[in-house]
């Protein structure tokens, strides 16, 4: 116990006396959270659109009024010809152009089919298809209204629409992407920070020649690992708390579940991630290598295979199989479950259990690695 404490205290002194790494450890999570939180928005709204109204009647105005009133579109300007509309699309000033042909109003009044044209910038296919479905919805709603009016005027009486879907989106009712990005981001940030912080911790001892000395003292490998872990755990816990607070306060992500469960699973995940960094450090015995490996092995899987951005269930078989070995995946599930669904251990016990297994296995591996001799 005294030896473990001595290692932890020494490690904290190292951290406190190296302001650069301390700042990195504390500021990096905030920078990443703000950067990704804002930049990684997958929401499509306020799509810039231009209107080319050749008709200029009350009927055509009623159609584009629907676009103006929707939060999904912003009308950039009205144009007088295809050339202008095309140039706006080319320059990226607009992503969509709505063209209402001459005679649109007259045809509606006469009860004929009245076509309109929608031109979309398909460069970003995701945004384009979302814009398309919004536009289709708006036009469909509009034609429904026109139909009803027409029937009323012609005395046919009101006919209710045959099927009326009442949609309720559960857990993230506004379908805001930040609500699922921010919890996932917490996992990615913790994984990176933890693996990077500790990747230097043992390699540094080898490079400074202090490891040889430590090994000649009665300190046991488990004490060495636990001592180092507890120092970095403190730092990681501070990061976790700031990230959660920032998510709730700055990004307004709803926190529906148990805070205790959140921090318990955070602690288990952090323990495993810190052990992973230590393991790399113990294997390479070289700070630069350990750092690079730490960055690669934490960032890429946590980012791509954790379900943070890309849903695990829709991955092809191979990446999905690989993702089963990525601890961040279980932590992302836990975070989303606690934040958005407000579910507890009855649902998340498996994820938490797997995180614990991962942490213990990596801890055992580091300890065994440190039991090895110098040569």
């Amino acid at each position: 116990m005294r030896r473990t404490r001595a290692i932890a205290r020494k490690e904290l002194l190292h951290i406190a006396r190296d302001p650069r790494s301390l700042i990195m450890a504390l500021a990096l999570p905030m920078v990443m959270l703000v950067m990704f939180g804002y930049a990684l928005s997958l929401d499509v709204d306020q799509i810039p659109a231009v209107i080319y109204d050749q008709d200029g009647t009350a009927e055509s105005r009623a159609l584009w009024d629907g676009f103006r009133g929707s939060r999904y579109f912003t009308i950039v300007r009205h144009v007088d010809g295809y050339a202008q509309a095309e140039s706006d699309l080319e320059r990226g000033a607009a992503l969509a152009a709505l063209v209402i042909p001459r005679g649109f109003g007259a045809k509606l009044v006469a009860g004929e089919r009245a076509p309109v044209q929608l031109i979309l910038d398909g460069t970003d296919s995701n945004t384009a298809s979302i814009a398309l479905s919004y536009a289709r919805g708006l036009i469909l709603a509009h034609s429904g209204r026109v139909q009803t009016e027409w029937r009323l005027r012609s005395g046919a009486g009101e006919v209710p629409p045959p099927v009326d879907a009442q949609i309720r989106v559960a857990y993230n009712s506004e379908l805001k992407s930040k609500n699922y990005i921010v919890p996932g981001l917490i996992a990615v940030i913790l994984m990176i920070i933890a693996a990077l912080l500790t990747s230097l911790a043992i390699a540094r001892e080898w490079e400074n020649g202090t490891m040889e000395e430590l090994l000649s003292t009665p300190v046991r490998p488990a004490e060495l690992v636990l001592g180092k872990l507890s120092a970095y755990f403190l730092l990681g816990a501070v990061d976790m708390v700031t990230a959660v607070l920032a998510g709730v306060v700055i990004f307004g992500v709803p926190m529906r579940g148990s805070t205790w469960l959140l921090f318990l699973s955070g602690g288990v995940f952090l323990f495993g991630a810190l052990c992973w960094g230590l393991l790399l450090s113990a294997i390479t015995r070289n700070q630069l290598q350990a750092y690079q490996l730490g960055l690669l092995s934490s960032f890429l899987p946590a980012f791509l295979l954790s379900g943070f951005v890309y849903a695990v269930d829709s991955m092809p078989l191979l990446p999905r199989a690989v993702s089963a070995a990525v601890p961040a995946r279980y932590f992302v599930s836990l975070l989303k479950g606690v934040f958005l669904k407000g579910v507890g251990l009855e649902v998340l016990a498996v994820e938490l259990g797997l995180l614990a297994v991962y942490a213990l296995v990596v801890f055992a591996l580091v300890t065994r690695k440190l039991r090895e001799k110098i040569a």
Partner: protein
């Protein structure tokens, strides 16, 4: 205190240490001497349980270095060639760290006592990175002494330390030995080896001779003649061609000439050189230094192996 039998370490195809057998008694200062790559550090690391022997056995303070690792570690102090001090920790913090690792009781008083003994007390709050080489050495020594080890292992302890600090270091060491400590050290400095009670000469992974420094000198079968002249290089070339001369090597400004038993005496050497154009040569019989013994012994070994 230390008992080694047939200790061998192979790194792949290379045999770093070859069948070492050795005994060191309590209270001895034992020096392992040899050129770089002779295997000195590997021997020390095996005795400190840091490297596992390939074969053979070693007992330190009565415990086996492969099977009773923890018992050995509790009883030894090991100061590596590049001792692991934490540069961003102060002198006092470094000492406290090692005291905690060894579970030392009453460390505060002990720390003061050590700081006094090494005259390091004024520097206790200085960062280790800002200490001079000699002071770092003293701090490293203090850290290895905190848990009152029975045996101190020092790997080239005064390498890169100025002569004054080296003398200080030996004064401290002498006092510790008087208090009953056993010291096992390696060194490449032969003057340092002369301060040891017994010396083991290592070469090519093998221990080729173990004796007191005086014993080693007397055991040398060859006589040593020191030659001084204006052109020692020319003299060396000439003497290497003379009958009965085992070797002639430059040592500083003088030439040390080893004469085989029954070979020429100093007067004959002088006359030989005078007859070949070196008239200012002075020759006198000297007691060989440990370095001379060392060179002569290695030469003898090489001859045996070649023959």
């Amino acid at each position: 205190m230390i008992e080694v039998r047939g200790l061998t370490k192979k790194f792949g195809a290379v045999t770093a240490v070859d069948g070492l057998t050795l005994r060191v008694e309590r209270g001895e200062v034992f020096g392992l001497v040899g050129p770089d790559g002779a295997g000195k550090t590997t021997v020390m690391r095996m005795l400190c349980t840091l490297v596992a022997p390939t074969s053979g056995e070693a007992r330190v303070a009565g415990f086996d270095v492969t099977r009773e690792v923890d018992q050995v570690k509790d009883r030894i102090g090991y100061m590596a060639q590049r001792f692991g001090l934490y540069g961003d920790l102060t002198v006092a913090e470094n000492m406290r760290f090692y005291a905690d690792l060894f579970g030392v009781e009453g460390e505060a008083a002990l720390t003061e006592q050590l700081l006094e003994m090494t005259r390091m007390a004024p520097f206790r709050d200085r960062y280790a990175a800002q200490l001079s080489g000699g002071m770092k050495q003293k701090l490293a020594l203090m850290c290895t002494l905190l848990h009152k080890p029975e045996i101190l292992f020092l790997d080239e302890p005064t390498n890169g330390v100025d002569p004054v600090s080296r003398r200080d270091f030996w004064v401290i060491l002498r006092r510790l030995v008087d208090g009953g400590l056993t010291v096992f050290l390696t060194t490449a400095y032969l003057d340092e080896a002369e301060r040891c009670g017994r010396v083991g000469l290592m070469h090519g992974g093998r221990l080729i001779r173990v004796d007191t420094p005086a014993g080693l000198k007397q055991a040398l079968p060859e006589a040593c003649i020191e030659v001084r002249c204006g052109d020692p290089r020319a003299a060396r070339a000439l003497l290497r061609g003379m009958d009965g001369i085992a070797s002639a090597d430059l040592t500083g400004s003088a030439l040390h000439v080893f004469v085989r038993p029954g070979g020429p005496d100093e007067e004959a050497v002088r006359a030989y050189l005078a007859g070949r154009g070196i008239s200012d040569a002075q020759a006198r019989r000297i007691l060989p230094s440990l370095e001379d013994v060392f060179i002569a012994t290695i030469r003898g070994e090489a001859a045996v192996h070649a023959g």
